[in-house]
């Protein structure tokens, strides 16, 4: 098996803050502005972290299955989304049309991967529910290996390098998103604003699904007590299939969102990166908790932007600061509060 290096977020990160501005930093106003900018970028990153993690937590919450194929699906989502954009966006495509294509890609990719995820649940996971959770971890991990290799084969056949990122779709990002917007006196990257918008859209959609639909109600009830839900006459297995499908679809939506982000971008390495960071977020938030995932994404996003800022300004010279901090957050949370911020104690023990 090949050992893929972790494409660490900060390692490839373009400087988040213009070094020129930093040198002139001084005085209370500048300090405040810096803080505001770091915060804004943290929220942008948080939106990304939330989007890649929410499907994972949904699946674990109901089914107790830690889906190790989550990252691989996100990777596929990034490529499929990229494919749609490359096919339909040309040099003359306007900004609005490009964004429209982006949403079409989002919807298409979600539909395709949701169907594929449901099929996978029926064919592969359903037969092993009666085994210990270890086997579900192993199975989904095996599936992720297969997805990654198939991706490599398809990419090689199409003459695309699996690594580093596939540049073509990243080039389709409209110019508008590459600039900055003055917000409260702070220049914020528009790409971050876009990511926040998409993240918010996903959050609202998932929240509405969970709270406003009967199916969402089953899922929330099932997350607490599957047996009781069955005893109320609800076919929980069918709910499992739907939720696994939706969780898979959400992973792919996360991938589509990463496609334009220079820190991530479509590459096969995305698979393991997304998986590890999604784990951190869902565990800090509490496995299975929607609110927890939202809050944890905020914490991880801001920790990421603060540590990245500390490094880019030279205050800390250790290049791995961001990654170390994020994984330390995971470890510390597991030590002081294993169930996470919003988790229920019993979950995961089963």
């Amino acid at each position: 098996m090949s050992l893929a290096p972790l494409a660490g977020a900060a390692a490839q990160a373009a400087p988040l803050v213009d070094p020129g501005t930093l040198l002139s930093t001084g005085g209370a106003v500048d300090g405040l502005q810096t803080a505001a900018r770091v915060l804004a970028e943290g929220i942008g990153k948080a939106a990304v972290y939330f989007t890649i993690a929410v499907g994972l937590t949904l699946v674990f919450g109901l089914m107790g299955v830690l889906n190790f194929a989550h990252g691989a699906v996100a990777m596929v989502g990034a490529y499929l989304g990229g494919l749609v954009l490359v096919l339909f966006v040309g040099a003359n495509t306007g900004t609005l049309a490009t964004i429209l294509v982006f949403f079409v890609a989002l919807a298409l990719v979600f539909a395709v991967t949701t169907a594929a995820g449901s099929a996978m649940e029926v064919a592969l996971i359903r037969p092993i529910y009666d085994r210990t959770p270890t086997y579900q971890i192993l199975l989904t991990f095996g599936v992720s290996l297969i997805i990654e290799e198939v991706a490599r084969i398809v990419l090689t056949l199409r003459g695309i390098q699996p690594n580093p990122q596939w540049q073509a779709p990243m080039g389709t990002a409209p110019d508008v998103l590459l600039g900055r917007t003055e917000l409260l006196g702070v220049g914020v990257r528009r790409l971050y604003l876009f990511e926040v918008a998409i993240g918010a859209l996903v959050a609202v959609a998932v929240w509405a699904f969970l709270t406003k639909t009967l199916y969402g109600l089953y899922i929330r009830a099932g997350s607490e007590d599957t047996e009781m839900v069955q005893a109320l006459g609800i076919d929980v297995r069918q709910a499992f299939t739907v939720v696994f499908g939706v969780g898979t679809g959400l992973a792919a939506v996360g991938g589509v969102l990463l496609m334009w982000d220079p820190i991530w971008g479509p590459s096969v390495l995305l698979s393991i990166d997304v998986l590890l960071y999604a784990f951190v977020v869902v565990i800090i938030g509490g496995l299975g908790s929607f609110t927890g995932t939202l809050v944890a994404a905020g914490i991880v996003g801001i920790a990421d932007s603060v540590t990245t800022w500390l490094f880019t300004t030279g205050i800390v010279t250790f290049p791995g600061l961001s990654e170390v901090t994020i994984f330390l957050l995971l470890v510390v949370m597991l030590i002081i509060r294993p169930q996470g911020l919003y988790g229920v104690e019993e979950v995961g023990g089963h």
């Binding site: 009967l214 009781m228 006459g233 609800i234």
Partner: protein, 232 residues
Amino acid sequence: MTTLELDGVHTYYGESHILQGLSLSVEEGEIVALVGRNGVGKTTTLRTALGLTPPREGTVRFDGTDVTGMEPHEIAARGMGWVPEERRVFSHLTVAENLRVAAHSAADSDARIAEAYELFPALDRFSDKEAGDLSGGQQQMLAIARGMVGDNDLLLVDEPSEGLAPQIVEDVVEALRAASADTTMVLVEQNFRLAMDLADRFYLVDHGVVVEEGETAGVTSEDERIRRYLTA
């Protein structure tokens, strides 16, 4: 008409043989109590009826249909409700949501929920509160209401008085009486007097089989044939 019939059921938890050929039948409209010491298989009897712990041998018939081996949700959807031990309300769902999950299959779910609120005014008052924040007695009311709104012909009620203050127990008994007006009921209850008070008939269970049965009228725990099974 016979609502529930268990015929020679053998049920296991792993290797432990819990029900060892238990048989009982429940007629439409009656309240039947299952009594006996801890660990003799009363809860397992209810779980076997609902298919949660399916029997390895024997048959379970519900409303005349053989439901042995069916999925729990299929049996439940045929009109069997469960008010489990320790209540098991969905603590992160609001009271209203708890009832909505349970009423999903009823054609007139809103009307049935409204009926339940009428019966349990406390639930109406706290309908937007998370069920986990309710008191033990209120949670028990919610569990009973949840069993009622599902349009069930049979309600399996497990230890409804457990862990509740005497004053609250009286309310719960009233609630169960009200519920029994609509449905047949099987009641597992530690409190012998309460069980005899509520039920029409009883089955005394010991070591996974029925050892005694009869009308509840006039039966007390001092009765010799009963006492020897209830004292350790």
